[in-house]
């Protein structure tokens, strides 16, 4: 007989059940993780039927986290992630992290659904909300979503399932441990069944149980299986999904003229012609920018082009030649900060049999998200409503509150799906512009960047030069010194502890930078996107010098760091070795037919180990990348279908930018601002990418970035085998065309 339950206080707990519910279970997985679920999870009955489970994903990752509200009053806005279970047993998961194409809107709900144990067909996924009042961080970046979310998402799903089981046990008057749940159905010892939907009313009023058992990975039914992107139907039918697709009643469009050169400021402008254009309604100046407003995008873009503006020099107008000169000057000098130093590098070089030194050079890169930057803002006396594609809703909301002098709780930001991020949408300059303009004209507006605006007003991957020097003595690598000269910042904390740190007895990483007025920032796999190329090209040269096989040289070096007690070391030599062995096997390394030249590269970044082999052939004297074989250790692969997509994309992106990516400056002005001049990789230039995962049951790590860094090195090393040319500068195409013209005389 089911119990009729009015409220928690009237619960008629069977004695043994109560004990069971409060008993401490040993967690089957990560024992070091001790979470108090009461601090991150709260349930509530929904007025329209069903149960809502709210949890704070990000604070759940920290054991000390406390919800910022009185948890007895559940408020939708106080959580950033939710599970809704309807009376019919349908499950809606509100995915909390911004979707930029990295697949978390699919993979994160998969983890919850797995532990909740529902059929994926009964699950739908909606984009979660962001509430600046209560949350500090909600970020898509650094390939960290899955890594940080893994334990919390599993705990949440499993806790919800246990509450439903407990509710069914109460209805049946039996002990919960005599019941089990699978695929949304709870079954007791006598074979009676109850669907999740049938017990939600009871479950919603139960205490949140502590110390939940997680599934053994061998029992996973959803994790590890191919699940199609949850937004696929909307994408293939053209439903509005992206920020640029948003519109509201009375919204006007805004096109903004910004200083054409870094170092310019606005002196004066004439908007007479602009104002005569059909559809243009207003022209306003804000700071050094001019916004043209009107009833359609075409009118405001035309209006912007018709503005006559005079600019004056505020700071120095820099050119690529200046940057090259300054960065080389830094590398030739001795003003460096040391990020890591082992042994005695100087004396190792003094006694070396041979010293190899190479300088690797990279240009600035724009992000070029396919969806140009855009944002909607409606600033009223009551609130600031913002809608758009942003990777950092909290940071951006905070900045806008400051700029407009508004209280943080007045800022309401809605995140949309993003037409690519690659790091560009970490910076909310476009959202700030939208808010500033709407604040002046007091109308809902949407700022839209043209492609030229997008490429010319970037936060670019900075130009960087690396100089690497190695000492060889008695056939061994005895010293390694990496110098970095970068614009506006240097590699962040941990990179100096990546390979080959710990493998070489005398080791030093030193950095220095040149301050430029060109805005720079994170770009997919920050710093390692180029460093990996430099490092793995250099190791290919060392291997040639030592007459060793490149992957074997890396494996040999990895032996030196096994069993290290140095906690700064970031990578796992065992996992890297296994990953390298997998790629050797799958790529037929060293056993390819005549005319196919292979290059190897391996790199650890964003907690994931990746090894790649590129197969190159020559066509009319130019190298063509035919195939890339990739081995990846990212722990448990949550969604193989999505994971392979990330790796395929990362590898081709890495090749494309190494081969063609080039943004130069002339007196502060970017020299290519649309796809007629700025070359992105296209279909005919793409190799086939074959991805293989190292199988293990370790916690998953991210995949949005790690596939990219090794790609450039693998291709460069293959091109060396094919042509005998060592590529030291990106983009490769410039060097290849020079050598081709020499070849053809």
């Amino acid at each position: 007989m089911p119990l009729i339950i009015e409220s928690k206080k009237q619960l008629n707990w069977p004695q043994k059940t109560h004990k069971l519910l409060t008993k401490k279970f040993t967690m089957s997985q990560n024992k070091s993780l001790s979470l108090s679920r009461r601090n991150f999870l709260k349930t509530s009955l929904l007025a329209g039927g069903g149960m809502l489970i709210g949890f704070n994903l990000l604070s759940a990752c920290k054991p000390e986290a406390i919800l910022p509200i009185d948890i007895s009053n559940l408020n939708f806005n106080d959580f950033n992630a939710f599970i809704k279970i309807s009376d019919e047993g349908y499950v809606t998961i509100f995915s909390p992290n911004p979707e930029i194409g990295q697949g978390v809107k699919t993979s994160m709900p998969m983890i919850i659904a797995e532990e909740l144990d529902v059929a994926w067909e009964k699950v739908s996924v909606a984009q979660g909300f962001y509430d600046p009042k209560n949350y500090q961080r909600q970020v898509a970046g650094g390939s960290q979503s899955i890594r940080f979310g893994w334990d919390a998402l599993r705990q949440t799903g499993a806790t919800a399932k246990q509450m439903l089981v407990n509710a069914a046990a109460i209805q049946w008057g039996v002990e919960p441990n005599t019941c089990f749940a699978s695929q949304g159905i709870i079954t007791n010892a006598t074979g009676d069944t109850l669907g999740y939907g049938e017990v939600v009313k009871v479950a919603a009023n139960l205490e949140v149980p502590e110390n939940i058992n997680l599934k053994d990975p061998k029992d996973f039914k959803i994790i590890g299986h191919d699940i199609t992107n949850v937004d696929i139907q909307k994408i293939i039918t053209g439903d509005p999904l992206f920020g640029i697709d948003y519109s509201s009643e009375g919204m006007v469009y805004a096109s903004v003229l910004r200083p054409p050169a870094f170092g310019n400021k606005l002196a004066s402008f004439d908007d007479q012609i602009t104002k005569s254009i059909n559809g243009v309604t207003e022209v306003i100046k804000f700071g050094d920018k001019i916004a043209v407003l009107g009833s359609n995008t075409w009118a405001v873009m035309k209006g912007k082009k018709a503005l006559v503006a005079l600019w004056e020099n505020d700071t120095k107008l820099e050119s690529t030649d200046d940057h090259n000169f300054e960065l080389i000057k830094i590398l030739n000098g001795n003003k460096f900060e040391t990020n890591r130093e082992d042994g005695n590098v100087e004396s190792a070089f003094k006694v070396a049999d041979k010293i190899i030194e190479r300088t690797y050079e990279s240009p600035f890169l724009p992000h070029n998200c396919m969806e140009p930057m855009n944002f909607y803002a409606n600033v009223t006396d009551k609130k600031v409503h913002l809608v758009g594609p942003i990777q950092t809703p909290a940071w951006t909301s905070g900045k806008i509150a400051k700029i407009l002098n508004r209280k943080p709780e007045e800022i309401h930001l809605e995140m949309t799906r993003m037409g690519g991020g690659f790091g560009r949408r970490l910076y909310g300059d476009f959202a700030e512009e939208a808010a500033q303009i709407s604040n002046i004209i007091k109308k809902p507006i949407q700022v839209i960047f043209s492609r030229e605006d997008d490429m010319a007003a970037g936060t670019y991957r900075p130009a960087i030069k690396y100089r690497i020097k190695a000492a060889i003595k008695e056939g061994k690598l005895t010293a390694y010194h990496l110098k970095e000269a970068a614009i506006n910042g240097n590699m962040y904390g941990l990179i100096a502890n990546f390979f080959p740190a710990g493998c070489v007895p005398n080791y030093r990483v030193s950095t220095a930078n040149y301050k430029s007025n060109i805005t720079t920032g994170a770009w997919r796999a920050p710093f390692t996107n180029f460093l990996a190329f430099a490092e793995q090209s250099f190791f290919s040269e060392i291997a040639t010098e030592l007459d060793k096989d490149h992957p074997q040289l890396i494996i040999d070096l990895l032996q030196n760091v096994k069993g290290t007690t140095d906690e700064r070391i970031q990578y796992s030599p065992e996992r890297m070795e296994e990953t390298i062995n997998l790629v050797i096997k799958k790529s037929n390394w060293g056993k390819t037919p005549e005319g196919i030249y292979q290059g190897f590269s391996a790199y650890y970044s964003h907690n994931t180990h990746v090894a790649e082999v590129a197969d190159v052939e020559l066509k009319n004297g130019m190298p063509v990348v035919k195939k890339v074989t990739v081995a990846v250790d990212c722990g448990i692969v949550v969604n193989p279908l999505g994971a392979k997509n990330q790796v395929e994309g990362g590898v081709i992106d890495g090749i494309g930018h190494a081969m063609y990516g080039d943004l130069s400056f002339e007196k502060g002005i970017p020299q290519s601002v649309n796809f007629d001049k700025y070359r992105l990789i296209r279909m005919e230039e793409t190799p086939e990418v074959k991805t293989y995962f190292v199988e293990n049951n370790l916690s998953p790590t991210g995949l949005g970035e790690p596939g990219l860094p090794p790609a450039g090195g693998a291709v460069a090393n293959a091109i060396y085998k094919a042509t005998g040319n060592r590529l030291l500068k990106q983009p490769f195409i410039n060097q290849l065309e020079i050598s081709k013209s020499k070849l053809l005389g």
Partner: protein, 152 residues
């Protein structure tokens, strides 16, 4: 501003816009059909691809005044409910990452397959060369076009 009567997805629609307005902005801003995407504005990336009399055309560079009684198909009108063989193949292969360029990719692929139902791999790669996918889902686009050809 002049009136233009267009045939879009089988329906006649009249709009009042400047003669130089590209079809893209008529679709997006006047008709609030947001499926056709803005990428570059100079016909270099293919995000804005639509069909004009069954041919793939870059709508960002097609002034409204140059269209008369041609029949225009956008991603919203390619099929009922996303059931065109190309859309189904996109779904089966799980092509998209960010998804922004995919409407344009699908429109290019569907026009191409109509003209060439049994393409070779090289013909597919050539036909899709004009559409940029910044996430580089090119391997899957290639596979999906092959699958759609097989299934149509």
């Amino acid at each position: 501003m002049p009136n233009y009567t267009l045939k879009i997805n089988g329906k006649k629609i009249t709009v009042n816009v400047d003669e130089d307005t590209p079809l893209l902005w008529v679709l997006r801003d006047e008709l609030l059909m947001k499926g056709t995407k803005f990428g570059c504005g100079i016909a270099q990336c293919g995000a804005c691809t639509v069909h004009v009399n069954n041919s793939a055309v870059r709508s960002c560079s097609l002034p409204i005044s140059s269209i008369s009684d041609e029949s225009i198909t956008t991603i919203e009108g390619l099929s009922e409910n996303g059931t065109h063989p190309v859309q189904l193949a996109w779904k089966e292969i799980d092509v998209p990452q960010c998804g922004y360029c995919q409407a344009g990719q699908i429109m290019t692929a569907s026009a191409f397959l109509k003209e060439k139902p049994l393409p070779t791999n090289d013909e597919i790669r050539e036909a899709m060369h004009g559409n940029i996918c910044r996430c580089a889902s090119y391997n899957r686009i290639e596979k999906a076009v092959k699958l759609a050809a097989k299934n149509s």
